[in-house]
């Protein structure tokens, strides 16, 4: 968690932009002076020009993919929350669900995605399922960890205050789970982008993953890199947005400690 909040603080642009510029410069020099075939590895300026030329196409495909990803994350959050609470509250649910959840993450998504499309049809639904499948696991784990971290003495204290289990859950566990949910959502934001590409590769007629697949097949390499660039930028934007929401929603989890009063 500290790593992730450090990362989000590291998203303050200047150092990242400098590093990016150095990286792009080195790449450009490598392609220009290293005798690399630009068809195999296009130089950054070719990618930039593809980005510019295809901006309308990229934008409309981004909208499709972004919609899938946001919907997928929403499904993942809902499912992860319900499952974590069930696992937290019931030992039977834990023993029944946890092994299956872990097993679900060993499914090779690349292979499963076409099978899902075969089964569920050529529609939005299988793509949603694939994205949710890769996004929900980090959410379950971080949410569950946050629930398990609730001090058992606090639950006892609430019992001496005659709180019902539901009120204890609402007053103690529900707020305590938010930092874990946000950490999971940040991980999910990144994983879901990869999930979306797999899903669209397996069967879609629109979207950046679809565009990427077509571009690679037709050896439109700069165009393929342009699609990858847009996907990366979208992942960064999504991560930053969740970090921002996190600061608003769970300020206590960030060490915004004032001077203790005497």
């Amino acid at each position: 968690m500290r790593l992730l909040s450090g990362l989000s603080r590291g998203l303050r642009p200047l150092p990242a932009l400098l590093l990016l510029a150095a990286f792009l410069g080195a790449w450009e020099l490598y392609v220009d002076l290293g005798g690399v075939d630009p068809l195999v590895l296009p130089p950054p300026h070719a990618v930039a020009s593809a980005l510019f030329h295809d901006r309308g196409l990229l934008w409309s495909n981004l909208k499709t993919t972004a919609g899938e990803i946001l919907a997928g994350i929403a499904v993942a959050i809902t499912v992860a929350f319900v499952l974590s609470v069930a696992i937290h509250l019931s030992g039977t649910a834990r023993r029944a669900l946890l092994p299956l959840l872990i097993a679900s993450q060993t499914l090779p998504i690349v292979i499963i995605a076409p099978l899902l499309i075969l089964w569920l049809g050529f529609s939005f639904v299988p793509r949603l399922v694939v994205i949710a499948l890769v996004a929900f696991f980090p959410l379950v784990i971080t949410t569950l960890d946050a629930l398990e971290a609730v001090d058992p003495d606090l639950i006892k204290l609430m019992r001496t205050f005659d709180a019902t289990r539901l009120r204890t859950f609402r007053q103690i566990e529900l707020p305590a789970v938010l930092p874990g949910l946000f950490t999971g959502a940040k991980l999910a934001a990144v994983f879901s982008v990869i999930g979306a590409v797999f899903a669209e590769q397996a069967g879609a007629t629109h979207g950046l993953g679809y565009l990427l697949t077509i571009a690679v097949y037709q050896l439109l390499v700069p165009e393929a890199w342009a699609a990858v660039t847009v996907l990366s930028l979208f992942a960064i934007a999504l991560f930053a947005l969740i970090s921002l929401l996190e600061r608003r929603a769970v300020p206590w989890a960030h060490h915004t400690k004032g001077e203790p009063a005497k």
Partner: protein, 263 residues
């Protein structure tokens, strides 16, 4: 099981002069034993402990670490049941050793947690807790988060939270153990004042013998595991008490002797 009696107040409309459960209920523990069975065999936490606390009485329980003091408090609060013997206690609210304040709530809302636990609205809980902030020297810190409060302030908010639970019995589990010596002395004086203004039946667990004789009407000394009562000392000293009072010092020395500490 503790008698699930009727609490002596109804917490409804915010009263200007809110007085939950004055006076207090009694605690009657008869030959209670508690055994924890773990992987490494049995752990006898309590062995035939009997304890009677009259309504309004303040009883301190002192003893070495692992004498089952916390188990005793949990029996009183109904969080555990004895394996043998019986526990009859009026409803009791716990004040835990660590303050356990919720980091996402303001001091005022933390103080109202017990009220909210019984279904009071946020506004009503605030209205009931707010007048106490002046009395507890917490005025101006209503909206502060726990991280912004000092250790002594946090313990006062924690105390208020348990007080507002409106139970006739208060079970205090080493309430000032985590504080530095100066703050602790200050808080002991403060608690003595609070309890004379708001009389309750109090069971105070502590390992600080001076704290026990300073605050309590009776000091019950317990042995190391398995915990049993080895001495029951009356503290017939008038209040306010001073830690330098020769009678108090003598009682403190006596309690320490019972605990096997020379001096």
């Amino acid at each position: 099981m503790p008698a699930k009696g009727v609490t002596t107040t109804t917490i409804e409309a915010p009263a200007q002069e809110h007085r939950p459960a004055t006076g207090g209920g009694s605690v009657d523990i008869d030959q209670a034993s508690r055994v924890f069975r773990g992987r490494r065999g049995e752990l006898h936490a309590l062995a035939g402990v009997s304890l009677r606390v009259r309504p309004g009485e303040i009883v301190a329980i002192v003893g070495p670490s692992g004498c089952g003091k916390t188990t005793l408090l949990e029996l009183i609060c109904g969080l555990q049941t004895p394996d043998e013997g019986s526990v009859q206690a009026a409803p009791a609210a716990l004040m835990p050793q660590r303050d356990l304040l919720l980091p996402w709530l303001s001091a005022l809302d933390n103080a109202g947690v017990a009220l909210r636990a019984r279904g009071a609205s946020k506004a009503s809980a605030r209205a009931q807790a707010a007048p106490w902030f002046t009395r507890l020297g917490l005025e101006g810190f209503e909206s502060a988060r726990p991280a912004e409060l000092s250790g002594g302030m946090r313990q006062r908010v924690s105390f208020l939270r348990s007080l507002l639970a409106g139970k006739p019995v208060l079970a205090l589990d080493e309430p000032f153990a985590s504080l530095d010596a100066l703050t602790r002395a200050e808080m002991q004086g403060w608690l003595a004042d609070m309890l004379s203004a708001e009389p309750r039946t109090v069971v105070l667990v502590t390992h600080d013998v001076e704290e026990a004789v300073l605050l309590a009407d009776r000091v019950v000394v317990m042995s190391a595991r398995p915990g049993r009562v080895i001495a029951d000392l009356q503290v017939p000293l008038p209040r306010p008490r001073h830690r330098t009072d020769p009678d108090l010092v003598a009682l403190r020395a006596q309690a320490l002797r019972e605990l096997g500490v020379p001096g």
